[in-house]
Subunit: 179 residues, 2 copies
């Protein structure tokens, strides 16, 4: 029902994403789909991915933010799976009205995401591309779940984020149209 | 002197990027570096890439825009080549004060990049990530060279863009500090 497309090239070394995935993976109705485990060689089975997407009602894109963008394999997944005739264009209605939740972690603190600080801008300035990708395919964009500076966070604070994420997914399972 | 890092997974099928590359490749002082030719298996030689970057004065990132972002191999290149201690962080000064020219082509017309149209926003809203990546590494961000709807463009109009690109590169070769 919820397809959790997860892209982290170093899951074992991740602190934040590992905590989030642990909280999410056994939520009833959530199917975890770790792209780097499935496609370590970057050779994506497009038909399989499209079947997974078509069967889902909610799609989660979870990944660390690398250079203000998505890890390479998730970018490749967008390029190869969201094809014309499937995701957009004539007959491309497979994703229409599905919900998308974008979940990302960053290395920076919120204070670093302001004009004049090291990341130069509000983090939201880097979000339009994921949002517009979803909207272009006719999907509903949900309020993103962003965790900043998660790898430096005290364990109890990270645990609170993980619980909030789990609750968010549970809500999406039980209340399909909530945004 | 100018390293033209070029990322297109289907160069042979590209109309716009092929025209731009043809105009750029024999400019004196420009070294064309086509990532998809060099690394068809996505296995990047980081040391080689860092040597190339260190030797350049101007770096060009040229690619088609895919889902409002960079092709996967260029994303992987950013992730693996722009490392801490090389591009940023302690001792990471190798790119400082180099100039970056971002060159990209899109499938949409300028009229589609407005609020309410299919691409939802001005194209510039999708640019901050490349700019901030450059700035984070202490590089000078030049005015980007963007060609919209290039694959549908009349040949003479595309030729004008290609000439303008060539002129831009020639200027960068001869006037290093121009922005």
């Amino acid at each position: 029902m919820i397809l959790l497309v997860y892209a982290h090239p170093h899951h074992g070394r991740s602190i934040a994403n590992r905590a989030l995935i642990s909280a999410a993976r056994d939520v009833d109705g959530v199917t975890l789909h770790p792209l780097y485990d499935r496609y370590p060689d970057f050779s994506i089975d497009v038909a399989e991915e499209q079947r997974r997407l078509a069967a889902a009602r909610v799609i989660v894109w979870q990944h660390p933010t690398f250079w203000y963008g998505t890890p390479a394999l998730l970018q490749l997944w967008l390029e190869t799976v969201l094809t014309r005739g499937f995701a957009y264009g004539e007959g491309g209605t497979a994703l229409r009205c599905k919900q998308v939740l974008w979940v990302t972690t960053t290395g920076g603190t919120p204070a670093q995401y302001v004009h004049g600080a090291v990341h130069g801008r509000p983090f939201g300035d880097f979000a339009p591309r994921m949002e517009q990708t979803a909207r272009f395919c006719g999907m509903h964009w949900l309020d993103p779940f962003v965790v900043h500076a998660a790898h430096k966070m005290p364990a109890d604070e990270l645990a609170r984020f993980a619980s909030a994420y789990r609750a968010r997914l549970q809500d999406l399972v039980s209340a399909p149209q909530s945004t």
